[in-house]
Amino acid sequence: MHVYIIGNGISGVTAARFLRKNSDCEITILSSETDHFYSRTALMYIYMGHMGFEQTKPYEDYFWKKNRINLINTHVNKIDFDTKILKTSSKGDLSYDKLVLALGSSSNKFGWPGQDLKGVGGLYAIQDLERIEEYSKGLNRAVIVGGGLIGIEMAEMFHSRHIPVTFLVREKNYWDIVLPAEESAMVNREIRRNGIDLQLETELVEIVDDGDGQCCAVKTSKDDTIECGFVGLTAGVHPNVKFLNESALEIDRGIKVNRYLETNIDDVYAVGDCAEQREPAVGRRPIEALWYTGKMMGETVAYNILDQKIAYDPGIWFNSAKFIDIEYQVYGEVSGRPPDHHDSIYWEHEDGNKSIRLVYNKNTEKIVGLNLMGVRFRHEVCEKWLAEETDLHTVVQQLNLADFDPEFYKSYIADVQALYTSSTGKPIEKPVKKTLKRVLAFLGK
């Protein structure tokens, strides 16, 4: 059996690794972006000079040969699903037995005037980074459009090179659909503390042409014109499936897959950013463009290809990011627009750069989510509380078990416990102490 995988990102590569781990089939990965798998999430660090491109490769180059995974750098222009043939730009026709589509995403463009000018672009692929690098020389200002995770990374990138940045965010506060109000305000402060020009409730109206097809300014919904030599478009991503639109493959926004990651065509699977779940897990979106979910789908699809059927289960929601210097972690349900039956205990450090939020169901008093800013929590402990629908009171009492900050750090757990007691009137008796031994016992290890 020869399995072809289109896309050498995290989902395609994870699929290949687990196929190899569990079988002897022939595996070939095709990609037209890079020769080897690299970590897209580290693009910003290449630009900032924390790492070179080499350092972002999770596996050394010998790994592929040793594990008998063929790598081909070519672009797939068309797929003939009837004859099971891939038509490539430089390697002719390739014939597959099973096919995994791990195509990733492309940056959104919402039809803004001037969006195709030179000096306008998103940040997704290494080629985008090369373009940004090219425009950075002598750049007077960069304007970033879109208040999401990639937007703030891009702002930090330019900022690290002392290039002035204006950051246009449509919402009232940075990423306030996802972040609760206080956390969102904290990130606003962090952005401004670094001297980045954050303009809230401001939309892009037009990108101005300098006459040579190069952008020279943007016009905003506040009737401002901001001069800039680069415009970063980071208003989300969409599945990179355009070249398949005319085919028999069922596509809505992404490639439709069932719980086994099978598409409507036999022997064709889709994973990662480009896959759209027909029946997403409860509380989850049909497309989740995330590193973690790509990894889980890659693992799951390998078993399904090998006829060991297993449904894709993304588990309990978690995510993390870093807002310039503030680390962020989330576990379970935390929202900027929480439903009425949710309430939370929110503790914030007096420096305004750290916070702990415990979200619970008002009716049942069970924990439903944890949101951390500038504080690290232990994934497995939070997961266990959430999976077991633990009482808020018990969580607060055991809170030390989740503390994952480095040694010698001041612990804020006692402050959170005190806050809980003062706001609910319930004292915490015998709070669980923090030792690794207790954590391991709690996790049953």
Partner: protein, 531 residues
């Protein structure tokens, strides 16, 4: 401190260096220049004044410069531009510094007269340091005094720089204060003061680094040293007993509880210099599998060499001058035999008990070689040979002193900072690191925990691990990092943008701490149930 100086509103790119940095750079260079002029033989007017001015300028130059670099930015990870800068990324400046530092070490170890060391009177650089040496122990400076002062100055000044850089991270701050403290007091001030108080016996044993222990301190068991200690009265006996306790009791206990970091990142001077002055070079260490293989062969060979050398030496002097020691050659031989074979057996058992990490053959090779070393000793003893390992006993010591003590630990170890990273010696050559590392891996509560599935494989951790450990390889699998070479510097944990890594100690899973926690998220049971 206001952060407006580091702002994106600045209409133009700020200059590479601001005015304060330029001035401090100039002053620091002036300090260095004074030192170089005196080395070149120019006689300066007031020797003492010049010396203190020079040291002061260098010290404050470094501190004010780095204060200006870091304190005007918000606290956080500041690795911007590391891969672009000439000095920190193997550019011209890096090569020039590597050549200069290497050259200095060659002269220091092999041709101290070029530094101006004289029999009765010093000249040049060594003479430049006479004023402080006179003040501290009323005699002229030696090349080692010069080295000690510069070394301590570097650790303290760059330690302060490091604290500015990592001021948001208490682990890094405390660890750095600790190495600065041990260097300043235990390696420098206390020995010098003891020497001043006891001028008669001083040079015999006080004038050395007190925190150094065997096998890093490779002449601890030399006959002159043992003799001096045992004849050195209360103080001498104290040092002898402390030295032995450190090796056989204190170190194993601390390593069990905290891993080798208690020494390598909190106490040791070699580690201290690497972590402070060497910090800009930490990302240069080679992370490849090949480098790891070379490392394991090399460092364990040095460890074996240090064992054999020490046994040969003791065997030698116990045989030659039996009356001067309590221990007889035959008792020593039997003790060494029991020690070596016991060590090899314990190693073998622990290695088997621990969850295997793939390097299955290594346990046979390592235990085999140690047993072989014991058998050769036995053979020579029974044959009545005066030499424990065929060759001249003292020959081992001389070869070791030259190749390991001078060439490896100094010339390559520090000279190659700008090319191979800051812990070349600690990683490839230090027998102490090797010994503590074996224990860390097999019998210690220490590990770096990976935080569930939060890793995004970005590579910051691996890049900034000075020991060349591919931390990410473990983190992305959800596996703890348990590596003999990890010195527990904590930088991988600090630079991780997703809060994935935590250095911690725990006893309940001591033999299974390397197990893969989860293969991402599917267990074999789940697959079987559904298939």
């Amino acid at each position: 401190m206001s952060s407006t100086l580091y702002t994106s509103f600045t209409p133009e790119k700020p200059p590479l260096l601001d005015a304060v940095q330029k001035v401090t750079l100039a002053l620091g260079s002036l300090g260095l220049l004074l030192m170089l002029i005196s080395w070149a033989g120019v006689s300066l007017p007031s020797k003492a004044l010049m010396f203190y001015t020079s040291m002061g300028l260098i010290f404050f130059g470094v501190i004010v410069y780095s204060w200006r670099t870091y304190m005007i930015q918000p606290a956080g990870i500041k690795n911007n531009g590391n891969f672009f800068s000439s000095i920190s990324h193997r550019g011209v400046l890096a090569w020039i510094s590597a050549i200069l530092i290497t050259g200095f070490y060659v002269v220091l170890y092999l041709k101290a007269e070029y530094l101006g060391l004289g029999d009765t009177e010093n000249s040049g650089l060594v003479a430049f340091f006479d004023p402080l040496s006179q003040l501290m122990h009323s005699k002229k400076a030696s090349q080692w005094f010069v080295y000690g002062v510069l070394y301590t100055l570097a650790i303290v000044a760059f330690g302060i720089k490091f604290i500015f850089k990592y001021r948001h991270n208490r682990y890094e701050i405390i660890r750095t204060i600790s190495v600065m403290f041990f260097q300043l007091f235990f390696a420098f001030l206390i020995p010098e003061i003891l020497e001043m108080l006891h001028p008669e016996t001083a040079t015999n044993y006080f004038g050395k680094d007190m925190k150094n222990m065997w096998p890093l301190d490779y002449d601890f068991f030399d006959s002159w040293h043992i003799q001096n200690l045992s004849k050195g009265g209360l103080m001498g006996s104290f040092f002898l007993i402390l030295g032995l306790l450190m090796i056989f009791v204190i170190s194993p206990i601390l390593t069990y509880k905290f891993g080798k970091r208690w020494y390598c990142s909190f106490v040791c001077g070699c580690g201290g210099l690497a972590e402070t002055a060497g910090d800009p070079f930490r990302h240069l260490s080679d992370k490849s599998m090949k480098a790891w293989k070379v490392e394991r062969w090399m460092i364990h060979t040095v460890l074996l060499f240090s064992f054999v050398m020490t046994i040969a030496i003791i065997y030698g002097y116990l045989g030659n001058e039996p009356d001067r020691y309590l221990l007889s050659r035959s008792t020593f031989t039997w003790l060494a035999l029991i020690g070596l074979i016991g060590l090899s057996a314990v190693y073998f058992i622990l290695q088997t008990k621990n969850v295997e990490d793939g390097s299955k053959n290594s346990k046979y090779i390592i235990s085999g070689v140690v047993v072989l070393a014991a058998l050769i000793l036995l053979f020579n003893y029974l044959a009545g040979s005066g030499n424990a390992y065929f060759l001249q006993n003292y020959g081992f010591r001389q070869a070791y002193g030259l190749w390991v003590g001078a060439v490896f630990s100094g010339i390559i170890g520090v000279g190659f900072y700008p090319i191979m990273g800051s812990r070349v010696w600690c990683r490839f050559g230090c027998p102490m690191a090797a010994l503590l590392g074996i224990q860390q891996k097999l019998l210690s509560k220490f590990r770096i925990t990976t935080n569930g599935s939060q890793c995004i494989s970005c590579g910051n951790c691996s890049t900034y691990c000075e020991m060349g450990i591919d931390v990410r390889a473990y983190a992305q699998k959800g596996q703890n990092i348990v590596r003999a070479s990890c010195v527990g510097c904590g930088v991988c944990s600090a630079v991780c943008p997703r809060g994935v890594l935590k250095l911690e100690n725990g006893s309940s899973d001591i033999f299974s701490k390397t197990a893969e926690q989860k293969a991402i998220h599917i267990t074999e049971d789940q697959v079987r149930m559904l298939s």
